[in-house]
Symmetry: C2
Subunit: 354 residues, 2 copies
């Protein structure tokens, strides 16, 4: 398998690539409904929820739109400290909501006290926050933000994007009191893109029923109604669900605890290696992603040249995102990546750097 | 390959199932952009358009929503003579548009004169029509409707759902003056579900720029901006695009004319066979689908029992849709189905019926 140290689409195991290639079934057949049911059941373990997981034939951004259209009539607060948080803000603007942006520097985590103060002042139906910023390698303190918000505005729904962390970091939907936790297939779940998943709380669904103009395709109420019949309103992304079904078995066989530990250990190793090379980590300590590390390019490395060099060895990493291009670069350590793959990457990088 | 005579998801050729299993690539890489570019280029031939084809990680219903949100500020006319036309009407309602339903009996085609009269009376920005009703096997006279509308309301955009016909019947986007022609992967294109395609005219895109609240995920203006860079706003359904790339080669190698003729010949053969069994066709002559035939169950066949019998032989067909369940049944003849497959089905059915 080639090794891409990029934060999605990530490499997919051959068994999972092949799982997509199973013959099609009618989606309203008992055979497929059974696969749909067991897949959405197993997914609840990943989200640490007793409630429900909905499957969407879309990318994760589709579910950012679902969150906004279903759970916000008017006012929403958007915590922004990276490109994908900013996208969610744009999604809210594009959908005509009255959205207030609570901006933080990209190299700083979302601050629970500032969020609580903003929520206390405004009267927000919901807030959006990104757990793991793919653009910066920042892990935001979602649990602490949720606690702080709950203390001052218990009715504000907490909507969390875990696109690049769920499956690689422990996110406890129920215990942390989160109302919608969305992710997509092509990151730490190590599946091909085109499928998105969301845990949705009972109270979020109750709220959705009161929101006008939810649309059709991403209507959570309609999705839940069909889920109760082990189905989806529109035709599901069947080959990707075949792959998810198999991949959840692999993930649960590894053990969720082991999987999170593997990701944490790889993150730690990347930090250690970067520092050994005289390079520092973009995100402050305590807020570093378990799945992708953004490294400051303090040695003025030609990132494009580095990637050309790495590709000859069947590897590649990611340049910095947007304004961070060339001044940072990113090493993803999620999904199928193992510590030994990282060691192989470091050997090659050291060769390039010397 | 098992033979499913159901109108989607249809059987997918092994080569295409396998095409999904290629290794992932970063979606913003030159390698993937080249695949994205050539796939969307080849797709233009299928739609008979010189303008553009957009690819969406969604089912066809997602693009029904795109059409409504992008091309209608307020008023839209929805021509309804089947379940999927009715869904499009629901999509317009769910998105808060002022939609007028122009209803026809399900066993009657959309009538161009009635549409023209309705368009003349109202002042509609767009009308929606389904080319091929999967629920009834009706092929609506889209070309004639477009002509009639153009004569009385040249500015009204014509939005066409060709979900179950494109790739099996000739639909001339440019020559017929259609503004948005949408389809999905799992019908006559014989791909797995989860991908949708749309030809979008220049004037539709100009209109979209003036429409507020288009949302983010299905924003056609945003999709076009990225298409010009051989990319998509959100992560694309990569494995399905790999499959589409390969399948378009197979379709173009068969030849579009040959492909449409094959579908027409199979439709004709199904009509002939049904009549030989004392069963009549639901759609009136001249308006019968090339890809799926709805047959009146005038012999009170136990459709569920028939399917159980057929499944033992690796085949299955579709019951009637919604209110037509059991009083009709459907034989799909699209995608990979060949005349010899139909003959095999008829042998089995005659055995069951005798």
């Amino acid at each position: 398998m080639p090794r891409m140290f990029v934060p999605g689409p990530v490499d997919v195991d051959d068994e999972i690539l092949q799982a997509q290639a199973q013959p099609m079934l009618p989606h309203r057949s008992g055979e497929f409904e059974e696969i749909f049911r067991r897949t959405s059941e197993k997914a609840r373990q990943l989200f640490f929820t007793k409630e429900r997981v909905l499957l969407s034939a879309s990318s994760g951004t589709g579910l950012q739109e679902a969150a906004i259209r279903n759970l916000v009539n008017k006012k929403v607060l958007s915590c922004v400290n990276g490109a994908f948080a900013d996208r969610w803000y744009d999604v809210a603007v594009s959908n005509g909501k009255d959205v207030e942006k609570l901006a933080f520097e990209w190299d700083q985590p979302v601050n629970p006290d500032r969020v609580a103060a903003a929520v206390k002042k405004g009267s927000f139906e919901a807030l959006t926050i990104v757990h793991n910023e793919t653009s910066t390698g920042m892990q935001n303190p979602v649990k602490e933000v949720a606690e702080a918000v709950r203390a001052v505005a218990p009715d504000t729904l907490i909507l969390v994007d875990t696109v690049s962390s769920l499956g690689g970091a422990k996110i406890e939907t129920d215990a942390w009191g989160l109302d919608m936790v969305l992710t997509s297939s092509q990151k730490a779940l190590a599946l091909p893109p085109g499928l998105a998943l969301a845990a949705v709380s009972d109270r979020a669904l109750e709220k959705a029923k009161t929101v006008e103009n939810r649309g059709w395709y991403f209507d959570l109420v309609r999705m839940e109604k069909h889920r109760l019949k082990d189905s989806s309103p529109a035709t599901p992304a069947m080959s990707l669900i075949f792959a998810l079904d198999r991949q959840l078995d692999r993930i649960l066989a590894e053990g969720l605890g082991n999987r999170f530990d593997r990701h944490a250990a790889m993150a730690h190793r990347v930090h250690e290696w970067a520092e050994s090379q005289g390079l520092s980590i973009y995100a402050p300590e305590g807020f570093r992603s378990q799945t992708v590390t953004t490294i400051k390019n303090e040695r003025d490395i030609d990132i494009s040249g580095l990637n050309t060099f790495l590709k000859k060895r069947g590897m590649r990493l990611a340049n910095g995102y947007g304004p961070l291009k060339n001044i940072t670069f990113r090493i993803a350590h999620m999904g199928e990546i193992q510590m030994s793959d990282l060691e192989g990457l470091f050997v090659a990088m050291e060769e390039y750097l010397s």
